[in-house]
Each structure stands twice: as structure tokens, then as C-alpha cells.
């Protein structure tokens, strides 16, 4: 018995000694034959001897013998791997060289920002509607409760095609088009291009993008308008952004509101802030409860249904969110500008 344990110890040391002298793959195979060969391998013989032992002796020797076998197999496999690898795989000379990068085109920032807005509203169960860019006076103004020759039209300076047709000055005509076709409940947003007769300057252009929202149903209140727009703005600008609702005037909503958000550029700390003019607030959207006259114009009974609507300038909001100083950048299409939005 003691002789088998001694032999295990002996071969362990013998293997350690021989393995340290191995230089090439051929020697690994020789070593494997010497220790694990099927007929005359040292370990094979030890296992033969092991079989002759009594049950008590087997208990202590068995474990040691198996351990030795596993160790030898592992070491040989490891060594073989090490010695063979240079022949099998080509070595790279300099791993620090730059990798192959693939250029993906960039979405236009307006598209990108519009999609972010759409996603928020779609998650609240809104669907997306679109409408024509060339409109009639009726849809653009009259149906939205702008009387002919009313000074309210001055804030929507219009590009006309002829006496009947104009370029829509807001996305609101689509409200009318949808309400004419569809009975409540209505829950939509309307993104799109709009036009104003504005001479280009850093914050005005004759073409820009808006997104409009409209909800019509029984029992819709101003509180719903507030709750939804707060969620929207916080999703867009972050949980901590402060906002305020203040009364305003739009012909197509009553009561009307404007929503200001805290200036993210100066936080109200800079009296000369270019973005908020030092007030600490930035006007971001107009909203309100759908005017009863608008409902009457599309044959929806304002005694039964109520609704809220909002409109937001996508360009202006994107300028604010990304701190883009000039609205012109959006339509110059300078690749050095556009390609930055790949990273958004």
C-alpha cells in the first residue's frame, strides 16, 4: 500500500521534471505516451496495480491517482496549445492601429427631434396625422375662428398663392380636417412644415416645423391639458425641469395658455442671457381648450364634447434643447452641422 502512494508521488515529481524540459510539440506527445500510453504508460500501470488493492486502501489511493491523471492531462494540453499556436494563427503586428469604422448617414435634426416628440405621444396612445401644406383661407383661418380682417391674423403673417390659396401658417388646419372626418374620441398629434412671411434672421425663417396635438372627448378638462403637457415636457427635457402655464390668446382656444420652461442655458442666473433675456423662462408652446366656435364649425356639439390642443415649434424647441444659436443652420445643410446629430 505505502508503495503505491510513494509511486504516485514519485511519478508526479518525475512528470514535473520532464515537462519543464519540453521545447517542441513532438516532445509533448512522447511525454503523453510515457505516462498515459495504453499499454506501458506509467499511470496505466499504476491503475493496474490499484485494482489489486483492498477496499480501504482503494479509498485513499484512488483520489490521488485520479488527481495526478487529470493534472498531467491538463498540463499536456496546455503545453501543446502553447507550442502549436504560432504555426496555426497569424500574429497581428500592431493592435493599436484604428479599427475599421463604418459611416452611417445622419438623420436631419428636425426629423430626429420630431420623432422624439412623436414617440412620447405615441406612448400615450396618440396617433399621427398629416395634412396639406397648401391650404385654403377657410381651413387656415376661418374655421379656426379668425374672423376676416381681424388683427389676430397679424401674428400669422401669411404667404399667399392667390385669393383662395395660401401656404399654411400653422399645423392647426389639420385639426379641422380630422374633426370633419372623424367623430370623437380624437387623440392625435400633427407634425409638419409651416410657412410665414418672415424675413430670415437668426431666430426667424419663412419655413419651419410645428407639431400640434388635439384631444376631443367627453369630460376633457384644462387639468388634463396640464397633466399631459407636463409629462411631455418632462420626458423631453428631464424630470427636474420647471414649467409654468400662463394665460394667453389664440382665436381657436378658450381658455388659452402659453407654457414656459425654465431656461436650461442660464437657469435664470444670467441677466444678459441670450436665450431667455434674463427672465429665466423660455416660451415653448401655446395651448388651450378647443374654442366652442371651432367645434361648431365641424359639427361637434360643445355642450357634449370638450377638448384641448397645443402647438409647438419644433425648430425653436430643438434650438433650445441643443443650444443651437441660429435657426438658419437647419436649412443650410452644412454636413459639419448635420453629422453631429448622428450621435444623438
Amino acid at each position: 500500500m505505502s508503495s503505491l502512494l510513494e509511486k504516485i508521488d514519485h511519478y508526479r515529481r518525475l512528470f514535473a521534471d520532464q515537462v519543464s524540459r519540453v521545447k517542441e510539440a513532438r516532445q509533448v506527445e512522447e511525454l503523453r505516451q510515457a505516462f498515459l500510453g495504453r499499454k506501458k504508460g506509467h499511470l496505466t500501470l499504476l491503475f493496474e496495480e490499484f485494482k489489486t488493492l483492498g477496499p480501504d486502501e482503494k479509498k485513499s489511493a484512488g483520489r490521488l491517482l485520479n488527481e495526478l491523471k487529470t493534472d498531467i492531462q491538463n498540463l499536456l494540453a496546455e503545453l501543446e496549445q502553447k507550442l502549436q499556436s504560432p504555426a496555426r494563427v497569424k500574429q497581428l503586428e500592431d493592435l493599436t492601429l484604428p479599427g475599421r469604422q463604418l459611416y452611417w448617414g445622419s438623420p436631419h435634426p428636425i426629423t430626429l427631434f420630431q420623432r422624439e416628440i412623436e414617440r412620447i405621444f405615441i406612448s400615450m396612445g396618440f396617433s399621427v396625422e398629416e395634412g396639406p401644406e397648401i391650404e385654403t383661407d377657410y381651413y387656415n383661418f376661418e374655421a379656426l375662428n379668425f374672423p376676416p380682417h381681424h388683427p389676430a391674423r397679424d401674428s400669422w403673417d401669411t404667404l399667399y398663392i392667390n385669393d383662395k390659396l395660401l401656404l399654411r401658417t400653422h399645423t392647426s388646419p389639420v385639426q379641422i380636417r380630422v374633426m370633419e372626418k372623424k367623430k370623437p374620441p380624437i387623440r392625435i398629434i400633427i407634425p409638419g412644415k409651416v410657412f410665414r412671411r418672415e424675413t430670415p434672421d437668426p431666430t426667424h425663417l419663412p419655413m419651419f416645423y410645428q407639431v400640434e396635438g388635439l384631444v376631443v372627448d367627453r369630460g376633457i378638462t384644462f387639468a388634463h391639458l396640464k397633466g399631459t403637457l407636463e409629462y411631455f415636457i418632462k420626458t423631453l427635457f428631464g424630470e427636474k425641469i420647471k414649467l409654468r402655464f400662463r394665460p394667453s390668446f389664440f382665436p381657436f382656444t378658450e381658455p388659452s395658455a402659453e407654457v414656459d420652461i425654465e431656461c436650461i442655458v442660464c437657469g435664470g442666473q444670467d441677466a444678459a442671457c441670450r436665450v431667455c433675456g434674463g427672465s429665466g423662462w423660455k416660451e415653448i408652446l401655446g395651448a388651450g381648450m378647443v374654442d366652442p366656435q371651432v367645434f361648431k364649425n365641424v359639427n361637434i356639439d360643445p355642450e357634449v364634447y370638450s377638448g384641448w390642443a397645443f402647438g409647438l415649434g419644433i425648430d425653436r424647441t430643438a434650438m433650445f434643447a441643443f443650444q443651437i444659436p441660429e435657426i438658419r443652420h437647419f436649412y443650410e445643410n452644412d454636413l459639419r452641422f448635420l453629422r453631429q446629430f448622428n450621435r444623438r
Binding site: 396639406p132 399667399y160 419663412p206 454636413l335
Partner: protein
Amino acid sequence: MKISYSWLKEFVNLNLPPEELAGCLNQIGLMVESVTPVGEDTVFEIETYANRPDTLGHLGVAREIATLLELSLKTRNWPLKELPQATSGLVDINILDPQLCPRYCGLVVKGVRVGPSPDWLKKKLEAVGLRPINNVVDVSNFVCFSLGQPIHTFDLKKLRGGKIKIRKARKGETIRTLEGQPVELDQEMLVIADETTPVAIAGVIGGEESGITESTTDVFIESANFNPVSIRLTAKKLGISTDASYRFERGADPNAAPAAAVMAASLLCEFGGRVSRGLLDLYPVPRKPRTVTLRLRRVNELLGLEIEPEFVVKTLSSLGLKLREQSPRVWTAEIPTFRVDLEREADLVEEVARFYGYDRIPSAVTPVKSFELPADRRRDRVWRLKEVLFHHGFDEVINFSFADPEKELLWQTGCRPIKLKNPISAKLSSLRTSLLPGLVENAVWNFNREAEGVHIFEVGNIYYWEGEETHRENLNLGILTTGLRSGRTWREAEKETDFYVLKGALEDVCNYLGYDQLSFEPVEHPFFEPGQALKILVKKEPVGLLGLLNSNLARNYDLERPAYCAEIDLNELLRKQPRAFRFQPVPRFPGVSRDLSFLVEDSLTYQQIQEQLQKLNIPYLENFLIYDRFQGKNLPPGKVSFSVRFNFRHSARTLQTEEVDRAMQEITSQLKSTLKIQLR
């Protein structure tokens, strides 16, 4: 509108710090754009709304503040030093068009010493941005900016016959305005005339001839009310906007006219004036005050809260409304004539909400009562299309929808452009009929700014007349690729873009949207170089064009590099039904590939070869692809070499070599007979 703090104090007792007052004004919707100290005074620039002419005077703003702070408005008496003569004995007023002039009040002040105004008056006017002129003009401005009621002063001696006629202008009549500008009047314009000629354009501007001068002693004060639409049309037509027209076109209060005349007269007494007895007040059809029913239930329904009825009554009464309870919590409200904006119940709900405070209204989730399926998948498809193009390395651009008609003529788009009636400039005076001019301009812009390659696309409308009357806007896709496709790296040399970069992107757009494969036909079109363009077809219907940009056009834009571009009618393309997606079993048996290289006449196109190959009825031919094409070198002249790889596979077993050999023989012999190929 500029509001002076000290001026406000003449109407209401205020002692808030200016910043706090600004906060109050914001809360009720009189948005303060700036707060500026002016000497001891503070001036607020406030945003006013087109429906709130009552806030165009300090009194109106004071009324709002008084309501918010629960203060009462001050009243002031305007004493007169009277002349013995009655007004009616000095002037004769006649309203010839009561539709356009509902009310006209007049007073005469004699013996006025015209000269500079006293300091208190100058300071007030200067604070709100008005230039002091002389005491008479300054008094009329002071009244206007106090009450919001414009008044006009005439030199009485210049009014021929002492007559005032409010009538429409006659054909050919002209007037020289106070600004010295000669104006031709038309028969739609309301004027104030004396016995013979117009002396003022009613509600817009006075005439120079009848104006107040240094030598004026006797003043006729006009305080009238004019039809808003008439004033607006006249002012717009003449291109003249004054403080008076601005107020009248928004709707002045007819009941403010008498008080304004008296206030002006009283102030003129301080400069030696004595006032004629009895205000002349022509008001042929007095306006009946409007009444509106207000239900507390409706207030709460629209705002989503519970408001106390006492708050409603207190607020609206303070704003000048007279409330009478019809039934519990339902009122009839009589609207004061200065509030032209209050017409319906919803308007009163807004008044309650404004003074209650929007910030105190709770926030709630808009309830969802039904789900709707999206109306169509068009928007999803447009986005998918963009994603494919991003993947191909194209950047998205957005250009103006406007076009320079002269430049667009060069393109011969074949569409009749839509011109604007009142464009901003000649260069922006029509609407684009193609997306390509914009893309070419973008390419040039970027080449001039160090870009070495420009690969861009735009999805947007083009616009044109169809027939005489029908306007169209059509969603198009424009793509352009020019210059370097990729820059040089340590692994690869730089690559120039080419026609096939563009064509591949378009083919992929169709593949990934699930449309049938595109087919192409050679075409000649003014956008492209002769022989270098293709018409794009889906299911044999044309959807667009692609090719090498015409070199004359390129030169016109100073674009030096070859540019490949395409324009696709997306309305047409997206109307097509994509193939329904069906899962195909993953192959279980190995495929076999065979290559075939052959020579054909160089007049033969790949498309012709492809069409022949598609006609072949070869079992187990999974697909084929061209992997080489060349001409010249060692080939006989007039010949071109193609190499095509054929992939075979059987779905239920491994193919035998002999089967594939037979198939290749069949392919070869068919192509020999149809295309006269020579094997290489």
C-alpha cells in the same frame, strides 16, 4: 405696449415692488417682456393680444391688477372752465355713414396757448416711448394712453364752415397727412371732412392742413368710435399704422368716447383754454350691452376643479361685469362694452381661470377610452426608407420649399410652378417643382467648405399646377452622391462614388420595403447627361429617374465633380402594395455553385442577359449573380466578357454532380442560341 408704474398709480393704489407687479401681470396673461427703470418710474413692456383693446390704456391694465389684488379703481373728476357758447353753436357735426362711425363726440376749447408741455406730462409720455410735440398733441396722446380711446384735435379755424362731416371719401379726393405724406383716398375709406374737403382719415391719421400749429388758439376735440374692419382695411391699404388705427381696428369702446373728450378738454384748460358748453354726442344707435349665461358647473367641467361661486362673482364683478343670478349657480352676465373679447361662456371661464391662477389648476392624466390602429403605414415606410439610406451612408437634408424661378427654369422639370403672390424676395418667389436643385446647392455649399464627398437625400413635397386650377403637392425622394465615398485609411485607398452606389441604395430601398424588384429603362431627360440616365419602374409603372447630372446644369451651379442623382415619386411608390412577408424554411441540404464566363456582343446589356436567365426554367437553380464584366485587353474587339455564378440547391436532398452538370449544359446551350454567347 409700454406701461408706466407711476401712471398706473393714477388709477389704483399700488405699493408692490416692480418685480412683484411683473409677476402679477404674468399670472393674468399680461406677459411682461421687460422691466426697465426710467428715473423714479418703472416701465413694463407687456405683450398685449389682438382681442384685448381694453389693455391698450393704463386704465385697462389697472383694472386687471385691481381685480387680482382685490383693490378698487380710483375715480377722478375732470373739471372744465366753460365758455358761454354752446358747442353746437361753434361746430356742426354730421354722421353720414353711421355703419362706419357709430359714435362721434366733440368739444371746442378756445384760447389755448400752444407750447411745450409741462414736465409731468413730458415725463409720462417719454416713459412709454412717445415723443412730446406740443401741449395739445401731448394731451391727446395722454388721454389715448390713459383710457385706450384715441382722440384727435383739429385747429377749429381751419375747418371750413365750422362743419364736420363723417363720410366716405369721394373719387379723386386726396389729403396730405400730418406726416406730410400725400395720400390718394378711395371711396371705401371713411374720412372726416369739413364743408368741402377731407381733413382727416377717420381713425387713422389727421390731415396736415387742419393740424395744430404754434398759431392755433381754438381747438376742436374729436372723440369718436369707428368700425374696426373699415379702419383696418384703410390702414392696410395705405400702409399707415398709428396708435389710433391700432386701437380702432381691435375695437374701441363707444362708451369711452364722451369721458375721453371731457378729460382732454379739462387738461387743455390748464393752458388757458375755455370749453364750449355741452358735449356734442352723436350716437344714433346706442350699442346694447351683450349678455352671456355662465354656469358654475361649466366652469368646473372645463377647468377640472371645484371653484367657489363667491370667487366667480367677485372676480367678474371687479372686471366690470354685472352678474344676476338666474338660478342657483347660474348667472346672466352683462358684459361692459370695453370687453370686446367676452362673447361666450367659454370666454368667461377663461376670466375665472386667469384670476384663479393657471398654476393652481390641478394636473391630471388625459383618460384613454379607446385604442386606434394607425390609419396607414406610410409614415413607417418613409422612416424605413430613410434608415436604409442612412445605412448606405447618406445624410438627410431639409431644404426650403421655395425656389428661385429663374434657376428652376434651367432644370425644365416639366411642371408648371406655383408662384407666390406676396413673396419675401424674388429668390423665394415660387415653390419648388423638383428636389434636385436644392440637393445640388447643398453639394456646392459643402464642397466650398472642405467636404470631399457629399451623399445626401431629402424627403419632401414638390408643388405644381395640374391643369389651370388644380394645385398639387407631391411627396418626393431626392438623392445625390458626388465626390469621395470614403477617405483614405491605413487599410484602404480612398474611393470615389459612382452611379452604382446610387443605384444600389435605391435597389435596397425597394428590397427592404418589400416592394417588387425595380426595373430600369434607358431614358433621355434634361436633368441628366445624354445616354446616362434610367427611368425607374416598379411593376412596369414609372416611379422616378436616376443618372449622371447634366454637365451644363452642374456648370451653372459651379459643381465641378460628377454628381449622380435620382428623384422618386414617393406617392406613387408608397401606393404599391409590398409583398407579404413569408418565412422561408432554412435550407437543410448543401448547395452547389458553378461559374460561367462568356463573351457577347458589347451592345448587349446586363439587363438583357438577366431577362434571358430569368426566363430559363432550370430546376433547383436557386439564384445567379454577375461577378465580373470586362472589355478590351485580350478580348476581340466589339466583345464583352461576363462571369456569372449559378447557385443550385434541392430542398429535400443533396444534389448529384450529374444533375448540376446537366443544368449547366442546358443554361449554356440556351444562352448560345438566344444571346450568341461564346464560352471562354
